[in-house]
């Protein structure tokens, strides 16, 4: 199809930008300004490149597209292989869209060590895109874990007062999960003789082995998603991270877990996945209800949104394990929608944090009088988070519930209560921050959003409405890949049953 290594270009262009920023010398102010511009332009060009993929992507096939191959470690049969299908392509788009937005959002709020911040951010983009494009388990793992380094630095250097605690917790929690996955990858390598994702999907692992492998992968992905009860690093990391860090953390890093479950756990270990479905349902329902209740009691805006993320990711895991087309598409859609909505919500918190330097809900109230356009944008994303029809959040949650209703009505009913609770905590948050009379002394001089801030929100507003009103373009892209995946899983399950019947 194409001979330009477009995916490698997409992956390593930000790294080149980062190396370029590294070489900038001179006076601190000048360096900061140049670093910002280089980072913005690099990420914009990268977004333009990713549009090329979006346009040239063929949604009629479930095959990987834009595949690249290079021999890397021939003696071990581990190779550098990149490619995207209907599932990963959307996440690549999400990443390339959000990076320039984050750079723009940090334009003024990051004032110290701007150069290092922009380097860390571009390196982070490289790792994130590489992770979604990787078609070899070892390459995947390298990107997957390498993300920890820039994120650790972003939280730790530019974070809030408890940033050291938060960054260590983030780093060690996720590392602990992923090292077990590394061992599982090795075990798979020796069982099948390859680390190529395609051939691993075709390989049949014995059921006993599947259980162990599934658990090892789950250890990693459950922390990343994060699922209850290993979600506790997330509120800390979100609260302490700078705005752009929170945005990328919520919008892209949390998707690693869901993406991993869909890409590896389900197609590679189908029997084990079916076996552990009750566990997933239980943990997800607890996550949806429990974290929604916790969110209701939060005093800190970022913490509230962080807990709401855990609840929303509960829908993602429920949907993925229904093994129905609606459920899995809903789960992917929910991830994309959450990527846009939670990114916007953290940016919304960032807007007022830049002005008042407080995230406490109690420090606000009556902002609608001073910041009308802020209130409007906040309302839109608040409603999208609640799942109002016509916004992106609705489509994902609806599809997930349709999917799970076919499989298990109890889970559907319990998950639906999460929607009610979600509406409760978000509306409550909105009322306390935006409505009421403006009595606080510190808020009297607050200014509405400036042009730069509006530009930051513009693409997100468009996207959240587009995804809510006309979801077909996104669903079409993933549809064939999802159906293909479900067929594969069902064939594998039937083959497994046939073997066990024959054995009796």
């Amino acid at each position: 199809m194409t001979h330009i290594p477009i995916l490698s270009l997409l992956t390593f262009l930000p790294l080149a930008g980062a190396l370029f920023i590294l070489s900038i010398r001179g006076e601190e102010g000048v360096v900061a300004r140049n670093a910002r511009h280089v980072a913005l332009w690099t990420s914009m060009i990268n977004f333009a490149l990713s549009l090329y993929i979006w346009i040239n992507f063929n949604p009629a096939t479930a095959d990987y597209q834009f595949v690249e191959f290079a021999v890397w470690m021939p003696s071990l049969n581990i190779n550098y292989k990149m490619g995207v299908d209907g599932i990963s392509m959307l996440f690549v788009m999400l990443t390339t869209l959000l990076t320039p937005i984050c750079v723009l959002a940090s334009w003024e709020s990051i004032q110290v060590r701007v150069k290092e911040f922009m380097i860390a951010f571009l390196v982070l983009e490289t790792f994130m895109i590489g992770m979604f494009c990787a078609m070899d388990m070892v390459v995947f793992y390298i990107f997957f874990e390498a993300v920890l380094i820039p994120m650790f630095l972003i939280i730790g250097v530019w974070g809030g007062p408890r940033r050291v605690y938060a960054s260590f917790k983030f780093f060690l929690y996720t590392l602990l999960g992923s090292v077990l996955m590394l061992l599982a990858i090795m075990a798979m390598y020796f069982d099948s003789g390859s680390t190529d994702i395609l051939s691993l999907t075709q390989h049949r692992f014995s059921v006993d082995l599947q259980i162990w492998l599934w658990l090892a992968f789950f250890a990693s992905f459950a922390v990343k998603i994060p699922m209850w009860p290993v979600h506790t690093w997330l509120p800390d990391a979100h609260v302490e991270a700078p705005t752009a860090g929170s945005v990328i953390l919520a919008a892209v890093l949390l998707k690693f877990g869901g993406y991993g479950l869909l890409r590896f756990s389900l197609p590679m270990f189908p029997e084990a996945s079916v076996m552990f479905t009750p566990l997933i349902y239980t943990l997800s329902v607890i996550a949806v209800i429990y974290t929604s209740l916790v969110a209701l009691a939060q005093e800190d805006m970022k913490k509230l949104i962080a807990y709401s993320s855990v609840a929303h990711m509960g829908f993602v895991t429920i949907g993925a394990f229904t093994l129905t087309v609606q459920g899995i598409e809903g789960s992917i859609y929910q991830m994309l929608a959450h990527g846009v909505v939670s990114a916007a919500l953290f940016l919304i918190v960032g807007v007022v944090y830049d002005r008042i330097h407080s995230r406490n809900i109690a420090d606000y109230g009556g902002l609608v009088h001073k910041m009308p356009s802020y209130a409007l944008i906040f309302m839109l994303f608040m409603l999208a988070s609640v799942g109002l029809p016509g916004t992106a959040g609705f489509v994902g949650e609806f599809l997930v519930l349709v999917g799970v209703f076919q499989v298990n009505t109890w889970v559907a009913a319990l998950a639906a209560t999460g929607l009610v609770l979600g509406a409760a905590y978000m509306l409550y948050l909105y009322r306390r921050v935006i409505f009421g009379t403006l009595t606080k002394e510190s808020l009297t001089a607050i200014k509405d959003m400036g042009l730069r801030e509006k530009v930051v929100f513009a693409p997100l507003v468009i996207l959240v409405l587009w995804m809510g009103i006309y979801p077909a373009p996104f669903l079409d892209v993933m549809h064939v890949s999802v159906e293909n995946m479900i067929t594969q899983i069902e064939t594998a399950l039937q083959a497994g049953q046939a073997v066990s019947v024959a054995g009796q």
Binding site: S75, E145, G156, F168, V179, L180, M186
Partner: protein, 492 residues
């Protein structure tokens, strides 16, 4: 190659003979050089430079021997691809250690020409260890190495910590050598031979069960002696004190070259002569591997002195390397060899950074002294950050690949428990590595460190840093070299 029938074939030992002659010549040069004040410094500079050149020449000589298995001196000395690989690593480590000491010596009143010569002496011993094919040549090589190391540890004569380190190292090292020698004599007593090939033939045909208990005792004593030399738990006690007390360039040297040599020897002895008794020694190696990893991970958490911290870290790294030996087979040995190469560059890089930690002209060693370094020394901080993440085994840095191959070997050998303990202890160890990153990057400026003096440290940090950071781009050369080396060990 044709030689006179009466003379042993000296070709396999050519690099060693070359180094021995160089040492003698340089000693003469040092002795007859003018003495006093500035002249001492000049002599030490000149001889350091010549020693580095000699070591580089030796690398070329060694490389020329690659590919064949040559024996000489009544089969007591062997040169195979395995030996070539390990010797290149050792020679590189020694050369870098001399470079690291270049400026340090003058600033700390250590500028005596014997320093570089002693390092080359120790290197010669290590090369003989690596090439030993007999328990006697093993012991002779080991002692040549150890005696030189005892002297270098105490090289800063007027410093009580340094002399204490030398003395401690000497007393404990002598005990370990004694144990090793006792083990060797037990082996000789129960088998009647000290030659590795004959021992291997004896045990391979023997089957596991019928072997005499005396031989098992002998192996245990030999393992104890070797475990001391590689500072594996439970024979690690000397390591933190010696690392802390010895002058920093010496510590850098200790942490790489002798360790690589001793591990190479460990592998050769276990796989070669005692390869047939693998079920007898494997559990011992597994135990010391697990114990070293856990101790290295947990004991370093509370350290405030960076050299002590690096001592525990090196204990942990030996634990990982021993996983590869425990896993056995070609894959296991190959993984150890790759690990050692990566470990060499990482460690030299870290110690180059430590040597840059100076305030008001004197060395500082507390990890708290690194606070705010990212502001005043951004490139140094970047280098140290890369080394620390690499030590913790975080991709995409080289340290990750070292661990990757080790754990691949362990999984291939179906040692799941060992692998799980290994990765979990690497998470614990990650804590103290990233704490250094935290101090460097997150904490605010305390009191700035001095500007780096002399270009040699910067060059070493840059070179090792680039190696560690970009190893992933093209890992094939080291991979295939290690594969060939491991294959040679099993072919022989």
């Amino acid at each position: 190659m044709t030689t006179l029938a009466e003379l042993p074939n000296i070709v396999p030992a050519l690099p060693e003979l070359f180094l021995a002659l160089v040492i003698m010549a340089l000693m003469m040069l040092g002795v007859f050089h003018k003495t006093g004040g500035l002249e001492d410094v000049k002599a030490s500079r000149l001889i350091s430079l010549l020693c580095v050149i000699a070591l580089l020449l030796a690398i070329m000589l060694v490389s020329a021997l690659s590919g064949n298995r040559l024996m000489t001196f009544s089969d007591m000395f062997v040169s195979d691809t395995f030996a070539v690989y390990c010797k290149v690593l050792v020679l590189t480590g020694s050369a870098l250690a001399i470079v690291l000491a270049y400026g340090f010596q003058e600033r700390h009143d250590m500028a005596r020409f014997e320093y570089a010569i002693l390092i080359v002496f120790a290197t010669l011993g290590m090369m003989m260890m690596i090439s030993a094919n007999d328990l006697i040549s093993l012991y002779v090589g080991l002692e040549l190495q150890s005696l030189s190391l005892y002297v270098i540890a105490a090289f800063q004569r007027d410093d009580t910590r340094s002399t204490e380190a030398g003395l401690k190292y000497f007393v404990l090292g002598a005990v370990a050598s004694g144990m090793l020698l006792y083990g060797a004599s037990l082996i000789y007593g129960f088998t009647g031979t000290t030659n590795f090939d004959q021992l291997a033939g004896l045990f391979n045909g023997h089957g596991g069960d019928t072997v005499s208990i005396g031989v098992i005792f002998g192996i245990v004593f030999i393992i104890a002696g070797l475990a001391f030399k590689v500072s594996a738990v439970p024979f690690h006690m000397w390591t933190p004190d010696v690392y802390e007390g010895a002058p920093t360039p010496v510590t850098a040297f200790f942490s790489v070259a002798p360790k690589i040599a001793a591990l190479a020897l460990f592998i050769r002895v276990m796989v070669g002569p005692f390869g047939g008794l693998v079920e007898h020694w494997q559990q011992i190696v597994i135990f010391i591997s697990i114990a070293s990893m856990l101790l290295g991970a947990f004991a370093a958490i509370n350290q405030r002195n960076i050299k002590r911290l690096m001592a525990y870290s090196s204990i942990g790294h030996v634990g990982y390397a021993l996983i590869g030996l425990a896993a056995g087979g070609e894959a296991g040995v190959r993984s150890v060899l790759i690990y050692l190469a990566i470990y060499l560059f990482m460690n030299i890089g870290v110690f180059a950074c430590i040597l840059c930690m100076r305030r008001d002209g004197s060395m500082v060693e507390g990890i708290g002294d690194l606070a705010g370094m990212s502001r005043t020394h951004p490139m140094l901080a970047l280098g140290l950050g890369i080394f620390m993440f690499s030590m913790a085994g975080i991709p995409p840095f080289a340290g990750f690949f070292g661990k990757l191959y080790i754990f691949l070997a362990a999984i291939e050998a179906k040692m799941y428990g060992l692998a799980v303990i290994g990765v979990l202890s690497s998470v614990v160890a990650a804590f103290y590595y990233i704490r250094i990153v935290q101090i460097v990057y997150f904490q605010e400026l305390d009191e700035p460190l001095d500007k780096p003096t002399g270009p040699e440290l910067g060059i070493v940090i840059a070179a090792t840093g680039v190696f560690v950071a970009f190893f992933f781009v093209y890992p094939t050369p080291i991979l295939s070299a290690a594969t060939a080396a491991a294959a040679a060990l099993f072919a022989g």
